[in-house]
Amino acid sequence: MTQQIVIDPVTRIEGHSKITIQLDDTGNVADARFHVTQYRGFEKICVGRPFYEMPALMGRICGICTISHMLASAQACEEVMSVRVMGTARRLREVVNYASLIQSHALSFFHLSSPDFLLGMDSDPAKRSIFGLMESNPEIARDGVRLRRFGQRIIELMAGKRIHPTWIVVGGVSERLSPETREEILGMIPEAYEILQRTLGWFKRTLEDYREEIRIFADFPSLFMGLVDEHDEKHEIYRGRIRIADVNGKVVAEFHRNRYQEFIGEAVEPWTYLKFPYYLPEGYPDGIYRVGPLARLNILDRLGTPMADQELVEFKDLNRLSSFHYHLARLIECLHAVERIEQYMADPAILGNRVRAVANANVDSGIGVTEAPRGTLIHHYTVDEQGLITGANLVVSTTHNNLAMNRGVLQTARRYVDGNKLTEGMLNRVEAVIRSFDPCLSCSTHAYDRLSLDVELRGPEGELLDEVLR
């Protein structure tokens, strides 16, 4: 008789979800799915509001990647105004965006995922958390907290507060950078480098212990999507061309953001609130692609800063199809982000006064695309003659990874889950594959509900046999 295992909720991720694992008559895994159980509706809430209110409104989608949503939103609004933010304002936005990337990556790597690496996938779940880490590896826990603080402090200093600042406005930013803030930020940089070098050191050594997980954790060929610099062949998270590359890094498509609908389709399944974007020319579900840190490193040969580029050379020798390497990619991106922040802050032009452009709505739609910490983020608005929003379409980072996350869950469940003898460690590995993608589910469903991820075990007729609720 067949069974279904439910992991509900999935823990140590951002948002609410569950995993169901379908077993066949012999207790082997037949299928596995990742369900997102929340729903929010920001695309509807914003209708009828003035376009220039969008960054603050859309920023509320998420408390972790507020900056990413505000930037994508502001860029879409600037398209509506036919204004392009350049010079100091653009640099200031980029610095805050890098700071946001660092704080989010630090949270994902240290707080959410490192307990799996340092305490073990099979360790006591009661201890397998940042608090357990504080007992067993206090220096590493401290590094995590300090690195996250580095990002959050920059956001606080520049944008006014850590969570939901309103400094990013349509047309630029609301206030220029003060020389004191610049000094304080420059003073924090050496510690950030130290933490990252230290962390890269121990984590790269640990990889050897996770050979098997690397082979199983969503390790399959897929396309990769991310932004690249508009003019140069380098890493870009603020604004750029959208590139889709294959497993070998060969560019399959590269296009302006305004054409995203020609390349990306969205499918819907009845069992989850999360849509399934796919690469249109390959159809659904073959057009599977991944976004985020791994994808951003896979579509390029250089990041554009010396230390990160050195790490990238080593990274390229790894099995870059495994989603396990999202973790290492995250650390390399953090290093790159610190280098960029240092470079931009060192330039006196960062203290410029011209930081905000003013204009009314001049065209009837706008598309803004940035790279959020977890991948490509698209905000697309339409407005009426007055500039009131008539429609919004958001394609959020985590959503792009939905097909890959589901396939990864199945691959991992097949390898580790034995329906005849369930252990907590098996199920933790199924959750860990989701964690490697660092999904942000409240963002992706633009949604609300209970916290976190559950696992269900179902029989062939679909009957619920067992479930793990947290």
Partner: protein
């Protein structure tokens, strides 16, 4: 010029013996004596309407609560401005205002600079006990510089009064009844098409919430300036 002095009345406010001219309201006398009564629709320099009911006070021996802003003093009156009952009603009034419109402070352009928000904080409103009505109200961005967002309007009529009494244009007025009441420009024309509006911005500056605002302001950026009103009133008195 002979000064005609009005008669003096004596009364008690919160147990304090006070003297007042007969043409003074309870609110004025209370303020002169350092007793603060919360207000929202009242603004020095504009006529009084008693619309918001936030300044309700108790008068000993009177059956009904009365608005301090429109009730004139009487000899021997005993006024209570801050009883538990009044605090309860005032908080309820603020909650009803929040429930009736669409007030979302976190993303509002007036966040942090809003009289409604200040009053809610001051009167200890920690949540709204009434069901939010989530009305479908109009946002008009047709004016070149300003926006009217009826979602955030509390119908205090400050805009109507300042436009009529100070600017002399009378562009604004109230349309409809009950919960369907709304402010309109002229004969319900889009603001941008108003033949009477002089674009002076007085209505925007006296509006206590984010209902009348400057265009293009981001969340928390709209700061109202009401000082002009006292200045204008003073200068007109001097001219007389």
């Amino acid at each position: 010029m002979a000064v005609v002095r009005s008669r003096i009345k004596t009364l008690k406010i919160d147990g304090q013996d006070v003297g007042a001219h007969e043409d003074e309201t309870i609110l004025e006398v209370a303020r002169e004596n350092g007793i603060m009564i919360p207000t929202l629709c009242q603004l020095d320099g504009l006529s009084l309407v008693g619309a918001c009911r936030l300044c309700l006070v108790e008068v000993v021996g009177w059956r009904n609560l009365v608005p301090a802003c429109t009730t004139y003093v009487e000899e021997g009156m005993e006024v209570i401005t801050n009883s538990e009952r009044l605090q309860k009603y005032r908080r309820m009034i603020i909650e009803l205002l929040f429930a009736e419109g669409n007030h979302v402070c976190a993303v509002c352009v007036s966040n942090g600079n809003c009289e409604l928000q200040w009053k809610a904080q001051k009167l200890g409103m920690d949540h709204v006990r009434f069901t939010n009505q989530n009305p479908d109200r109009r946002v008009d961005m047709t004016h070149e510089h300003f926006v009217v967002d009826a979602n955030r309007c509390i119908l205090c009529t400050r805009c109507v009064r300042v436009c009529d009494e100070i600017e002399g244009a009378h562009t604004w007025d109230i349309f409809g009844r009950g919960e369907n009441s709304t402010i309109i420009s002229d004969f319900n024309l889009p603001w941008g098409e108003s033949p009477t509006c002089s674009s002076c911005g007085k209505c925007v500056n006296v509006c206590p919430t984010g209902a009348l605002v400057e265009k293009g302001k981001a969340a928390g950026e709209m700061i109202k300036r009401t000082e002009f009103l006292a200045y204008l009133t003073k200068m007109r008195e001097v001219k007389k």
